[in-house]
Symmetry: C2
Subunit: 241 residues, 2 copies
């Protein structure tokens, strides 16, 4: 089973204080870029893989989705998600995405924000998502960018007077243990090529890739984040069945 | 016009001594990966953009291509390419790829090895290549990997005891001046997302991406290259019209 770091006290408490937890989608700086990739949701069936507190599920319903299924492995996150809505068209299911079985040909949109980099068997999950989409359906997801997950020592450094991100072991895919919000958080490092080729082999057609970083405008409002323009933070992908 | 560094004495002399110049395709360590992407060439019409000494043009004919057009900006490289063959089905044209006009619906395969990263207006060139391909045709190309072209100071460094590649200014696309074989070689840095989205917007369908690095076996034969497993050297792409 995938590590369920979200239900540990230290991680959950720290995660709950992040802007993306207290402010929702608008607290996530990559949200405008993800939102720009979304199709019209009016009357559509939506799946959210790694739904967390359910911000996107509620947003999708607010923007016309006919029904939304949110899936997450975290009891604590789902408990809060369920407490935040009484909308009968939003359903939450607790499941490990490594093994979760989806109904075939059910969804117009599968969405996943920063969850796939925890998955060990992404090939299995993508095949399941592909089958769960209706013909013409769309998968949109974000993951931590491989440039960020690769390093042995993922910390900004100074090289010849310039802030640099110390890339190494980029080609060595597999688990990376970091101390983000709590010690011992395990993420799966994959190259961009692996993400893209897994999608293509599964039968998806790629329609957009974004190597997302904070914009100049966002850094203007937070000069302390200036280094974040030097490497992409997230990889955003849109593809179709 | 694109910088024509290949015709300067220092660069041409040094380039002519590289294994890929003296040994041809087998002297290029990425060739097996590129070759694996190629379609059956039997009876096909082939375009080689940035053909250099014509190694691939001759290989394509040797492997059944009906005709090959090699295009390069370098007089000196084309002079040698022409001297190496008397095959009437191989044609060489001197042209700047920034402005070269291709005949529409002419080629089954467009191939380009390590040339597109010199092109300023890649969108124009890709549109021209797309139009020059027959329906069902294929574009296969390699470029220096964006992780390699990004840095202010593109040299291996040591961080916390580990060999690392100092990535910065990854999002800042545009010219990079390096001293490779000769001082002042100008390459255009683009993100992977830009390469992919340019192709998709042009109308290509992506079918494979390779973030190529030396294999463990290649490094076994050359232990002095061990750092090269830490970051991809080249980006290889196959897409279809």
């Amino acid at each position: 089973m995938t590590q369920n770091i979200y239900d540990t006290e230290t991680f959950f408490t720290a995660y709950s204080r992040l802007p993306r937890s207290t402010e929702g989608l608008d607290g996530a700086p990559e949200w405008p870029a993800l939102q720009a990739l979304l199709p019209d949701l009016d009357g559509r069936t939506v799946l959210d893989l790694g739904c967390g507190f359910g911000w996107f599920c509620r947003w999708a319903r607010h923007n016309g989705a006919a029904s939304v299924l949110g899936v997450d492995v975290s009891d604590r996150m789902l408990a809060r998600a369920k407490a935040e809505t009484d909308d009968p068209a939003i359903h939450y299911t607790r499941a490990d995405l490594e093994h979760f079985a989806l109904s075939p040909a059910t969804f117009d949109l599968a969405y996943s924000s920063l969850a796939f980099h925890y998955i060990e068997d992404l090939q299995r999950l993508l095949a399941s998502v592909h089958a769960a989409l209706l013909p013409g359906g769309t998968l949109i997801f974000s993951v931590e960018h491989p440039i960020c997950t690769a390093p042995t020592h993922p910390e900004w450094t100074i090289d010849a007077g310039h802030a640099t991100w110390p890339v190494n072991q980029y080609l060595d895919e597999g688990p990376r243990t970091t101390n983000w919000l709590a010690p011992g958080v395990i993420k799966q490092h994959r190259t961009i090529a692996t993400y893209v080729n897994l999608l293509l082999r599964t039968g998806f057609t790629l329609s957009h890739v974004d190597e997302w970083a904070l914009s100049e405008a966002q850094i203007g409002a937070h000069p302390e984040w200036a280094d974040e323009r030097h490497r992409p933070s997230f990889l955003l992908v849109r593809c179709g069945r």
